[in-house]
Structures are given as C-alpha cells and as structure tokens.
C-alpha cells in the first residue's frame, strides 16, 4: 500500500493526559461529566479549558464525585447525548455501582482510565488494578502501549461503543504518569477527519425524544433480568468483530492498523511473553536483545481485554514451548491473576497444554526495565529445558526476602 493514501496528520508533543483531552476536543461531545483525580487531572483540566475558551460546544458538568460523574454520563447518554468522561484508580472504584448501570442500560459512554493503583497503602502510581477490578462490569476494555495508541484508542472507543451491534460503554486505559504525564510524540489527525470518522451519534432511544416516550431503568424481575444479561453477552460477542473492523477501518485511514492482539517477533518464537499496556515496549527491547543472543523470543500484546479474544490469543500461542503471562494487578487468593486466568482458559478450551507461568509485576508504579524481561525469557528457557513450570506464580522486580 502507498503511504500517500493515508491522511496526513500533524506531529505534536503532548503528555498522554493532554492527548486524551485533545481527542475529546476533536470529537466535541455533547456532554462531559468528570471529576479530577491524580493522575487523570490534566485530562479534565485541559478539556475544561477548551470548554471555557469556547473551542467545543460540550456541556461540561463539574460534579461532586466520580459516582456522580458516571451517573450524569448515564443520564446524558439516556437522553441521547454522546457522553465522555475520564477517571482513574480510586475514582473508578467510586464509580463501581454506576459502571454496571452504564453497561446494563446500554449507554455507549467512552471513558479514558489513566491507570492507577488502589490504596492502601496509599499510592497514586500506575498499575492495572483499577481496570482489572472493573473487568466484569460489562464495559469493553482496551489498553494503550504508547502515546500514539492513546490517541488512536480514544478515537476508536467512540465508534466501538456506539456501533449498533455493540451499544456498550468502553474504557480505554493508559498508564498513569508513564503515559499520562510523559511527553510523547503523537500524530494528530485533522479535526474534521476525526469528526467524520466518529460521525454523529444516533441513539435508538432518547429520553428527550418526546414523540417516542421511552422508559429507561424500569425494574426488571427474575422473569426477564436474565434475558437482558444475555443481551449484554451478545453485545460483547459482537464487540470482538466490531473492534477488529473499526481498527481495520482506522488503519486504512491512517496507516495505523489495530486488532485485538498484536504479536511481536512471535511467529517462530519458542518462548513468549504476554503483556498488556505500556510495559510492552520494554518487552520488545528485551525480545530484540534475546534474539541477538540467538534466543527465539517473542511477545503477544493484548490490546483488548474485554471482550477477551480467546481464539486470537490461543492461535498466537499454540505452539510456544513456554509462556509467561505478565499481570500488573493482583487477584489475591485466585488461581492466577486476571490475564493469566484468561490466557490459560483460552488455551485449555482449545486443548492446548502449554507451559504457562504467571508473573505479577509493576504494582504501585514499580518500574520494569528490559533487563528484567530478559530474565523472564531466561526463566522460560529454563522451563523448556527442565520441563518444569513450577512455581507457576512468580514475582518480577519484587524484593522477595
């Protein structure tokens, strides 16, 4: 394909939080209800400046909490508005009750989550505890690795959410500080291209459509509640296809193609690391270094965690001799952390008995460098050599004494 057929963007230097705010400006949504919280603050702060400066037509609702922020977004969405918001960590936790209402009412809200750990002990730095904790709330979840993906995901999130076969809210994660506060290079599309790509929101039902009065949120008894949950499953199932389609369409526009997962040096790899989010870059460097030493090392980055893409994951990993799943959250007392459980289930259901180990890493902002991922690859070589995966549950970068 010729590069010239792609829309030319403008290169800018922006912190990840500002990237999110710029996309919100380009989308020019009807309503943004948000509450500032570190490290998401700059999203709300920057966007509220756009509102104050008249650069968007958005009704900005300054709320008293994240519970109220999500409630206001749900109300706006039910009224037929395109509603966006952003939060992180404790803010997402406070939204908990309303997250279920947003998905259950099929409100296609898009929300940036600037991933932050959950206290206690008090911590404001990045890991994926917040979004992993919300993985069963019925929201679609995609994660960004770098600044460009923050930008591209924020645009695609709206299209995915509002697709008539999906109609579910989407949260798109970006690592707090590591992406949120770091200055990075982003190719921004012209405003009109973004507006055209996301299109205008055409709700099937709207509280403000007085010609067609509709009741939202009526009581649902045991005789129908279950069926409505089944509908949500359907939306999630369709989302797998829609996320890939939107990613492909975006790729045709920009040259940046997106799917459910992204392999790196994986085709002929014998040992593989599975990871989500901003640490994937360090894994790429580690894979390069191991390859230079003759080790067939590869990586599978999972972009879309909800819905989880089991076929794509199992297909990519089926012939690997040993696999390390990296989890940046902790599922205390479970038989493995969230990503590990999903990966193992995907393999098991397809009859693949691979050697898989689970590494918890990077909690509370603990940095992980390529050298540490090289050690993971060496650990995997050991697993291959000995045929022993135990201990299955491991820690990377922990002072284990």
């Amino acid at each position: 394909m010729q590069e010239t057929q792609y829309v030319k963007g403008k290169f800018v230097a922006l912190e990840g939080d500002r990237v999110v705010a710029e996309v919100m400006r380009q989308i020019n949504p009807d309503v943004v209800a948000a509450y500032p919280i570190t490290p998401q603050t700059e999203v709300v702060q920057t966007f509220s400046e756009f509102v104050a400066d008249g650069r968007v037509d958005t009704e900005f609702i300054a709320v008293e909490s994240e519970h109220a922020a999500m409630s206001a977004c749900i109300g706006a969405s039910a009224a037929g508005a395109r509603a966006l918001t952003a939060t992180c960590g404790a803010g997402l936790a406070l939204m908990w009750e309303m997250l279920w209402c947003a998905s259950g009412l099929r409100c296609p809200i898009a929300m940036a989550v600037v991933n932050r750990s959950l206290s206690a002990p008090l911590n404001i730095l990045t890991d994926q505890t917040d979004m992993m904790g919300a993985r069963d709330t019925g929201w679609i979840q995609i994660y960004a690795e770098n600044h460009q993906e923050v930008y591209d995901n924020a645009i695609q999130a709206v299209r995915i959410a509002e697709h008539p076969d999906v109609v579910l809210p989407v949260m798109h994660g970006l690592a707090g500080f590591v992406l949120g506060h770091t200055l990075g290079r982003v190719e921004m599309l012209p405003d009109e291209v973004v507006k055209e790509f996301v299109g205008s929101y055409k709700p099937r039902y709207s509280l403000l459509d007085i010609e067609h009065p509709t009741t939202f949120g009526a009581y649902d008894h045991w005789d129908y509640f279950f069926e409505h949950k089944r509908q949500q499953w359907e939306g999630m199932n369709c989302a797998l296809k829609v996320i890939a389609e939107v990613g492909e369409e975006y790729g045709k526009l920009t040259g940046r193609h997106y799917g459910l997962v992204e392999p790196y040096m994986l085709e002929d790899a014998e040992v593989a690391i599975v990871i989500i989010g901003s640490a994937a870059g360090a894994v790429r460097v580690a894979a390069d270094q191991m390859r230079a030493q003759g080790v067939k090392a590869g990586m599978l980055k999972i972009r879309c965690f909800r819905p989880f893409p089991p076929s794509a994951v199992a297909g990519a990993l089926k012939d690997k001799k040993a696999i390390a799943v990296m989890d940046r959250s902790s599922c205390f007392g479970a038989e493995g952390n969230p990503v590990f459980i999903e990966v193992c289930s995907s393999l098991f259901q397809r009859g693949i008995r691979a050697k898989v180990v689970d590494y918890t890493y990077g909690l509370g902002g603990r940095d992980t460098v390529p050298g540490e991922f090289c050690q993971v690859y060496r650990d995997l070589l050991q697993v291959v050599q000995t045929g022993v995966a135990e201990p299955v549950f491991r820690y990377l970068g922990l002072r284990d004494f």
Binding site: A13, V178, T182, L183, G184, A282, V285, P370
Partner: protein, 190 residues
C-alpha cells in the same frame, strides 16, 4: 551512526525546572523530526527535594517507556546533589556527565570518580544574572545542546520562544534565550 538513540537522565531539586527542561529538550527534538520522550520520575514533588527526569531522543520510534537506567548523559542541575545522589549510577563509560557547578570538570571527576567526559557550567550564576532567580534549567539546556550536539541551538531557541512565549512576558522570554546562549557558550570541558 548505528544507534541514534540518546538517553538522558536529569537530576535536580524540585523548583529548578528539571522536568520542564526534560520536556523542552524533547519538544525541540520534535522540531527536527525526531522521536522523543520527556518523562518525569514522580516521587515526592516538593520544593527542594531531589528529583529525576528522563529524556529520550531517537531517529526511530522509541519502544520502552521505562526509566532510563543506563543513560548516555547525566545532567545535574544542582551540584549539592553530588553528595547525596549517585548521579553516575549506570552512566555509560563512553557517555558524559554535565554538572551545574562553578568548579572545574576535574574537581567533579574526582568527586564522582566518573571516567567518561565531564563538563561543568556555572548555570546558577548565569540564571541569577539573566533571570534574577536560581532557575538553572535553561542555561543547562544551552550547555547540553553544546556538549551533545543532538539538538540544534536554533531548534531549542525556537522552542524556548514558543513554549515560554505562550505564558511569559517577552522580556522574560528573551532573558531566558540569553541565559540559554550563555549556557551554550560558557561550558567547561575536561
């Protein structure tokens, strides 16, 4: 050059403009069509507390988003940090150490034991003279541009005028440009 990525680790104290400098440099690199990261290492964000920041500049897309642990360049905005922070930790032997100090590079070398190139610049005096305050980040940027050559003087001055000009008065912006030029010209090498 085979490897056209330069990794810089900044050491300063809260309030000295360390993070701003790390980002100004990154943005100037964009002007030259390069890839970059300007990354603060958030810890205790208090005036006077030792802080770190990182800048990566590359001719190709930058993969890692982790901290810089083996920098090509270590920049120290406050010489008193030499006593309390290991500023040469992981610093490549073929790299360089640039310190805001009125002393000579040899003195810094003996203080740190670093074997690579050492440069000093009296950025504090320049800042106080040009800006009336001890904000040594801009003269340090000038010095860094000179000793590394990785981003041109012109790009950085353009960046200063654009970035600082957005919020500051013209005379303060020009005082910063002057401080930058003095930093660029006044660096002492071993």
């Amino acid at each position: 050059m085979a490897d056209q990525t330069i990794e810089i680790r900044w050491h300063g104290r809260g309030g000295q403009g360390t993070v701003t400098a790390s980002k100004l440099l990154a943005e100037a690199a964009m002007e030259e069509g390069k890839y970059f990261q300007g990354m603060p290492d958030y810890g205790a964000e208090r005036m006077g507390a030792p802080i770190r920041a990182y800048t990566r500049i590359s001719s190709t897309p930058i993969k890692p988003y982790c901290q810089v642990t083996e920098p090509d360049v270590a920049v120290v905005l406050d010489a008193t940090l030499l006593d309390i922070v290991d500023v040469t930790e992981g610093l490549k032997q073929e790299g360089m150490l640039l310190v805001n100090s009125a002393t000579s590079p040899d003195q810094v070398r003996s203080q740190t034991g670093y074997k690579g190139k050492v440069y000093t610049i009296d950025a504090t005096s320049i800042a106080i003279e040009a800006l009336g305050r001890n904000i040594p980040n801009v003269p340090m940027l000038g010095s860094l541009a000179k000793v590394t050559g990785m981003v041109s003087k012109e790009s950085l001055i353009h960046e200063l005028r654009t970035r600082l000009g957005a919020t500051m008065k013209q005379e303060i912006v020009e005082a910063n440009v002057l401080a930058f030029e003095r930093g660029y010209d006044g660096t002492k090498a071993t």
